[in-house]
Subunit: 366 residues, 2 copies
Amino acid sequence: MSRELDHSYAVILAGGQGTRLWPLSRASRPKQLLPIIGDDSLLAQTVARLDGLVPPERIYIVTAAEHAAEAGAQLPTLPAGNILAEPQPRNTAAAVGLATGVIAAHDPQATVISLHADHAIQNPDAFRRVLRTALLAAQRGDYLVTIGIQPAGPATGYGYIHREQRAFSVDGAAVYAVERFVEKPDAATARRFVESGEYFWNAGYFGFRARHFLTALRTYMPALARGVEAIQEAWGTAQQDATLAAVYAGLEPIAIDTGVFEQATNVLMVAGEFPWSDVGDWAAIQEITPATEGSNTVIGGAGRHIAVATAGCLIRTGDRLIATIGVEDLVIVDAGDALLVCHRDRTQDVREVVEQLKREGGDAYL
Amino acid sequence: MSRELDHSYAVILAGGQGTRLWPLSRASRPKQLLPIIGDDSLLAQTVARLDGLVPPERIYIVTAAEHAAEAGAQLPTLPAGNILAEPQPRNTAAAVGLATGVIAAHDPQATVISLHADHAIQNPDAFRRVLRTALLAAQRGDYLVTIGIQPAGPATGYGYIHREQRAFSVDGAAVYAVERFVEKPDAATARRFVESGEYFWNAGYFGFRARHFLTALRTYMPALARGVEAIQEAWGTAQQDATLAAVYAGLEPIAIDTGVFEQATNVLMVAGEFPWSDVGDWAAIQEITPATEGSNTVIGGAGRHIAVATAGCLIRTGDRLIATIGVEDLVIVDAGDALLVCHRDRTQDVREVVEQLKREGGDAYL
């Protein structure tokens, strides 16, 4: 590992649930802790993807208190103290603030890149190169750096980052000034964005010098900044957990994009051209997983799949046999106590099932 | 019960497996022993349907040796001796021959109607009236009587019975001479059959005086007749089971239709106009079961079903939750260790899955 990144840290946000991946994803075993793609959990894959760039002792995980033990168990190379347990979810500004505060408390020179635990990236080398550029750019000065994903198409499900023409170069790689962050567009706007070549998907990856981020927090979210400072003071003392519990509950739940990056003026963007997915729903999993039987993709457990006249299906087996006859473009997910059969164009509507279960006493399945 | 039926017996053939109702129907728990429609097994429903016509002590069941105990347990009102266990399957001529021989051994005046354990009949009163007519017609003389089901449509999956115009009347009901039995027709022929009004579905229901049937056996299947006589002689003695085992294995496996009724010249037909189904596949079950949720039919176990944009589906739950989103015209069957997802136009192809399991070491699922 090069000396230039000696003070670089990664913060991995592992607080979500992944409702749209029900019935596999549950409150007690959320998406990022599951081996949804491949043999390791998305969280473990996210840590592995940093190999050679940021060593385990400088990787921090922010996760819900109830999942901290499982996250630690999945990441045996990380020091136990690097798993930061949120007493309750307070959105990403607080999560990144907490981790950055803890990191800055022992390394005032730290540069941090914050990532998500539940994304899939198919070219880890390209990903690491982009992270390295973002970290180097952040070290250059009082910048807030984000990574914009080169759009694979005019998606309406993501926010976009509009970069300016103006760019400078870090170690041979282009870094752009950011014109603005844009909310999820409609289809026509998304097409225009993508055609322009100036708009990138906002994947929620943010880099900065810790010291500078805490300054930005004081400017744009002063109450949150005060909370982080209180936690920093107590960190490593006997009051650590009590202070965290007392302070965290009162933090305003705002996304880091909205709360900080969209307010700031010194934001830079590095373009990420690796194949990227937020693994948002079952259709996304089908897209990034190679077909295994003709045009069907069979993943998951020990259960067999027998197909007669079956095409374009994603089948996630559990322990039992699944037989399909005369069907196409279905997503079938066997999660033991619950089974999903969904047209692949309707995988976003898995949310509706989850809502119905919440309303109608289906807690056992949530 | 009227005196005129004092010597009437029913033989219920319960030897099949119902492969097309996999994964619910298995070698160890065949279709007729399962509560596929309603709360009781098809076998128990078949016995209940004879209530008021033939008393339990005159109802005989012919079933595979490995299912005799379960059949007996499901039919507590029947004398244990009325469950006849076939040492191995030898088709319907042998099964009906065995039962008729056993019945005639103790009641030489017996009249017998043989039925199937795995059919669904929605108007039991009309059904009993037709059975009564068939039994009375059989008592009239040396006739072989069959019941022809009024076709509900030009089905190509059944054999047909072509009746003659010539009819006589039994207790006010028409009884026709039979012109011939016809194999499963093609679609055009089936349409012609149904339009003529002279063709009826062969449901495999046959009535006769026991003595006369045994005479017909001697004429058309003399080897089988000799086997039945040997069993009759041993029946009720210490040699009963040994003789049955020794003789039955050697009997020629031929259907009663082909072996006897299609050869005979004195065959009569009574028309059955009740709604009838052979419950042959999952589509048949959907046809005869009222929709329970919009256009969907949910039957089966304790498992919940949650539907979002789901239409025309048959869902047979097991213990677990099944959620469906954006699908139509599917058959979904949860049988615990195996799950079927099948377009409802392809339910005949369940056979292919069973064949594949036989070829590829799937015995655990058969």
